[in-house]
């Protein structure tokens, strides 16, 4: 059952994309109603701060780590045997 459902979803990337977009809209929308009396720092006061933090952090991390891997860390898998 679950296999069929997942195959169904895999064949419809557009549906997945729009579900993700709808969810993101919900997440930002929800932030308007969150209570903020436990704020620890300035970012906690800004609506949508963690949306920006999430996407910038994620993209930055991918670019930084993959880049570092390509230019420096990457070796053959039997590097130490040579």
């Amino acid at each position: 059952m679950i296999v069929n459902f997942l195959t169904y979803l895999r064949e419809r990337p557009g549906l997945l994309k729009w579900s993700l977009m709808a969810y993101l809209a919900f997440a930002v929308g929800f932030d308007f109603f969150a209570e903020r009396h436990h704020a620890h720092f300035w970012g906690d006061e800004i609506i949508g701060f963690f949306a920006v933090f999430g996407v910038v952090g994620c993209l930055g991390m991918i670019v930084f780590c993959k880049g570092l891997s390509h230019v420096w860390l990457e070796r053959d898998k039997d590097h130490y045997d040579k």
Partner: protein
């Protein structure tokens, strides 16, 4: 006293391990394997506050000390021993089970130890038992990795022992109590470094992602739970409030997650991710407030279960397909859907989805950092949470079960016992998320924290959703490649190579050169000297000795001739002598 040793949960596992071959002979190995951890899991609730005090060579050893801090760790360790053993139930080889149980015994012994010597004894038992979980994989790579693992841990154990000796010399008290950060001595810092090695704190972390991916399928499930979390326990016991730990812990969370983003081997991703997750706990220990220590314990509890679940899910794939590299996997969701569901539950729990255990434990540490006004550390922890969802929550399941290309593999679903074990861990992940008080009631301090606030939910919804967006945008760039990435084990792996090269080339060459020099110059000199001495011997000493010897012989001959042996000659000579004497006397 003797009876109190038998109530020690480590004793249950040690006796269970020693009798396992007998159980196998009686064909009750599987029953025995479930029974022993189950007994231990029940039995830890009935431990007295203090037991197993032994005096040995003038030292007071305490094998059992139970308080609120030990309770939560004992609970999760014995539960994990049960789940891990069930996961490996299909393995007929008793040796692996024995190694795993001795390893668990080491961990429980360390947790219950009331003094540093007992800590050290069980600490070493853990290292020695766990290396067999690597070696039992029986591949060339795992044997090499096992040797590196045991060497690094021996080194760490020696540092710990050195610290303990120095501490003893300073004060003479080896009771395992909390140290004050303001008056910490060198000895205490050395002990802390010994503990930090097992907690895989960079730069002494590389043994973990080196060895764990080479361990057996079940071995890795055990290893991911015990070594690092026992280290978190001893750090929380001895070094709460050391700011250095807070900083190092925050660095760990990012360091581990960075590597998890770029690695290709699924179990190496998870191993690096242990470094990241243990970073949260080390950081919380370093913050040291009641809320932070609670957070460290809660996160250790939750982490053991979901990380083991992830190792079990990925281990099932390795067991059924023989592969663990993301670049060689893909499209397995049709064939192993049950393992997939459990692994994804582990993935969302580690990422801290609401209604999972990660949400109620990780947020506690982040809030503790915020409440302690350590904003920068808090932001590092939040960024690590982003990386966690990216690497383990999405990347790992995506490339194993879905992926851009189908691997063409058609494996069977995992063995039934593996599924049972995964179900148990997955159940706990959700159960703790839905009913956090079950965990919160076990924590060392009273919990005054509510994870399900609208703000915290909103923060999590955004962080996770927009991390998903980041993955969606960059999925092509994230594609794993079949390479290995350098890490700090480079120093000792290359260092060992250089050492061997140094031994083979310069040392050997110098040795050769010196023996050549000796042969050409030294030997000739020695020969010349020998000849000179020989000449002197002949011409000098012998001449003198022989000369005097000849003199004695000649003198003797003359004396001999002089002594004729005839009586009339002697009488005549005596008469002549008398006359001479008389003449002399009369005339003078």
């Amino acid at each position: 006293m003797t009876s109190s040793i038998f109530m020690h949960p480590a004793t249950i596992f040690i006796i269970g391990a020693l009798l396992l071959p007998l159980a196998k002979l009686l064909r009750i190995q599987k029953v025995w394997l479930v029974l022993i951890p189950l007994i231990a899991f029940m039995q830890i609730h009935y431990l007295p506050e203090s037991f197993g005090r032994v005096e040995w060579l003038g030292f007071d050893l305490q094998f059992g000390r139970v308080d609120q801090l030990t309770t939560v760790f004992l609970h999760v360790f014995t539960l994990m021993a049960l789940i891990g053993t069930i996961f490996g139930l299909h393995i007929k080889d008793s040796g692996q089970h024995i190694a795993a149980w001795l390893y668990v015994a080491g961990s429980l012994g360390t947790t219950l130890a009331g003094d540093y010597l007992t800590v050290f004894i069980f600490w070493e038992l853990m290292a020695v038992a766990s290396v067999f979980l690597v070696w039992y994989r029986k591949t060339r790579k795992s044997i090499d990795a096992g040797y590196r693992y045991i060497l690094v841990h021996t080194f760490g154990g020696l540092i710990l022992l050195g610290g303990i000796f120095l501490h003893y010399q300073n004060g003479g008290d080896l009771t395992f109590v909390s140290f004050a950060p303001d008056s910490a001595t060198l000895a205490q810092y050395i002990i802390m470094i010994g503990f930090m090695l097992n907690a895989a704190v960079p730069p002494i972390h590389a043994w973990l992602p080196d060895a764990y991916p080479e361990a057996t399928v079940t071995g890795a499930v055990f290893m991911c739970a015990f070594t690092t979390k026992t280290a978190v326990y001893v750090l929380a016991r001895g070094f709460a409030g050391f700011q250095a730990l807070a900083i190092l812990g925050a660095i760990m969370t990012l360091y581990g997650v960075f590597y998890a983003v770029i690695e290709n081997d699924a179990r190496r991703i998870l191993a690096y991710h242990i470094v990241s997750q243990v970073g949260y706990m080390v950081c919380a220990v370093g913050i040291g407030t009641e809320m932070a220590i609670n957070g460290a314990c809660a996160h250790a509890y939750a982490h053991i279960l979901y990380k083991a679940l992830l190792f079990m899910g990925v281990g099932s794939v390795l067991e059924m397909t023989g592969r663990s590299k993301l670049s060689e996997l893909g499209g397995l969701y049709k064939y192993m859907p049950i393992s997939m569901i459990f692994t994804v539950i582990g993935g969302i729990a580690i990422s801290g989805f609401p209604l999972t255990s990660g949400f109620i434990s990780k947020s506690m540490i982040i809030s503790a950092a915020g409440a302690d006004n350590q904003t920068f550390i808090m932001i590092m922890l939040l960024l690590a949470a982003v990386g966690t969802f990216l690497s383990v929550g999405i990347k790992l399941p995506y490339y194993i079960w879905f992926g851009p290309n189908d691997s063409g593999l058609k494996p069977k679903e995992a063995h039934w016992n593996m599924q049972v074990a995964m179900f148990m861990a997955a159940f706990m992940c959700i159960f703790l998320g839905v009913y956090p008080d079950y965990l919160y009631n076990m924590l060392p301090y009273a919990v005054n924290y509510h994870p399900y606030t609208s703000f915290h939910l909103s923060e999590t919804f955004q962080l996770l959703g927009f991390t998903g967006l980041g993955f969606y945008l960059m999925v092509k760039y994230l594609k794993p490649h079949d390479v290995s990435n350098l890490d700090l084990d480079w120093f000792y792996r290359r260092g060992a190579g250089w050492f061997m090269w140094f031994a083979r080339k310069p040392v050997n060459a110098t040795n050769e050169w010196i023996s050549n020099v000796y042969k050409t110059i030294g030997l000739r000199l020695t020969m010349a000297l020998a000849r000179a001495l020989s000449w002197f011997d002949w011409e000098g000493i012998d001449w003198a000795l022989d000369g005097s010897a000849r003199g004695v012989v000649e003198g003797g001959e003359q004396v001999r001739q002089f002594q004729t042996g005839k009586l009339q000659h002697y009488i005549g000579a005596a008469v002549v002598l008398v006359f001479i004497v008389l003449i002399v006397v009369v005339l003078i």
